[in-house]
Symmetry: C2
Subunit: 212 residues, 2 copies
DNA sequence: TAGATTGTTAATCGATTAACAATC
DNA sequence: TAGATTGTTAATCGATTAACAATC
């Protein structure tokens, strides 16, 4: 795996999509696939697919194409899906619960290990085997547990405070669902899921009768 | 508003972010802002901000900058947020409920008008004043109600069927939360929110110790 | 071997940044 | 008026596509 030059974000964001396609093909029993066939299924050019993959190594074979299962697994390795990740969810309303219940985790290395909320109606209830704790406990919990990923499902107004707290206690990455851009230390990765931005974008294309 | 050449997707996806920033500034009472000041707050270059905005018209004034409230409203118009949108949610589990409860709608033109599910435990319950209907009713509901946006919060396996149904009955856009890429008519816009892809991307940066 | 398809270099295209004249 | 800042053109940078020699 080539680690020298920085891989562009555009390439990284296509990797999960490739992997999803390959998983589907595995389920159908497909053993090999060419970049041309992938192109027809996924909509990127064959050239781009080969270019993307060759950022990380030569996974194909001339005259044959790519082995589906092998390429699927290699992309998993590139993404870091061979490792396991401890996650906490702060904000345990519907969205937090939806994420806690997300079935895909159990097949992979993701583990929700704690949930928090300020709402007395939610504190104490159990979501998928995890008891929702009082948000007051967040500091002490983080102080005594090494967490990889902090998930923010709070309101806009609490998001920055939560992010700072996570950052202080050495969380490695933040998955932010609050509709606000948070500021944290340079060495912490933030992935934003801005649902309202997504809906606004959809509406642009609807109201302007365009295709993206 | 210039409608001639097609605006790139990258530009469109920045618009909601500009609008969010401007809203915050309005709340703080800021009346005017220059592209340079926006740049410091949002992280894009001043040049890019001016370039982006000038795709749609000259909203600024030399020597002054931009009027915050006016620019906020103009971006709303560009996005189509002056219109109202009727939405239905198919799949009324935690995620569907989270979206139904999303408070931002009420301030804007978005209306959730119906929800559906196959689960007998969910059918009949009321989410934010909307009763969850049997999924069996989806066809007849769509036949007699003009819906703008269909929201898919089902499992992967039902998503395509739901999308096709929405498409047949003239839904204008689909907001897809199922972890699968759906195929619909050319004239229907699909906005995907692939949470697993998003998490995978986060994990890439964590495990490779990189910044996006 | 002949055919197929990759890996990789070169060409093109599009998006971002820089620069500056226009003008408030 | 002088200073500030836009709108817009030109330059640069990066990402995508095309082409083809290498090779299975």
């Amino acid at each position: 795996m080539k680690e020298t030059s920085k891989i562009s974000n555009a390439v990284i964001r296509r990797l999960p999509r490739y992997r999803r396609l390959l998983k589907e093909l595995m389920n159908k029993g497909t053993e090999r696939i060419s970049s041309n066939e992938m192109s027809a299924l996924i909509g990127y050019t064959a050239s781009q697919i080969r270019q993307d993959l060759n950022n990380f190594g030569g996974f194909g074979q001339q005259g044959y194409g790519y082995n589906v299962a092998m390429l699927h697994d290699q992309i998993g390795l590139i993404l870091g899906l061979d490792q396991s990740y401890k996650m906490i969810i702060v904000g345990s309303g519907n969205l937090g619960q939806a994420i806690a219940n997300y079935a895909t985790y159990y097949k992979t290395g993701f583990q929700v290990v704690a949930m928090f909320d300020v709402n007395p109606k939610l504190i104490g209830i159990s979501i998928n085997g995890i008891e929702v704790q009082d948000y007051e406990n967040l500091d002490s919990y983080l102080a005594s547990n090494q967490i990889d990923i902090g998930i923010i499902c709070t309101t806009k107004s609490s998001a920055q405070e939560v992010a700072s707290c996570m950052s202080n206690f050495g969380v490695r990455g933040i998955w932010n669902f609050a509709p606000v851009d948070i500021n944290v230390d340079e060495d912490i990765v933030v992935e934003n899921v801005h649902l309202s931005d997504s809906l606004n974008t959809l509406v642009y294309y609807i109201s302007n009768n365009q295709k993206p």
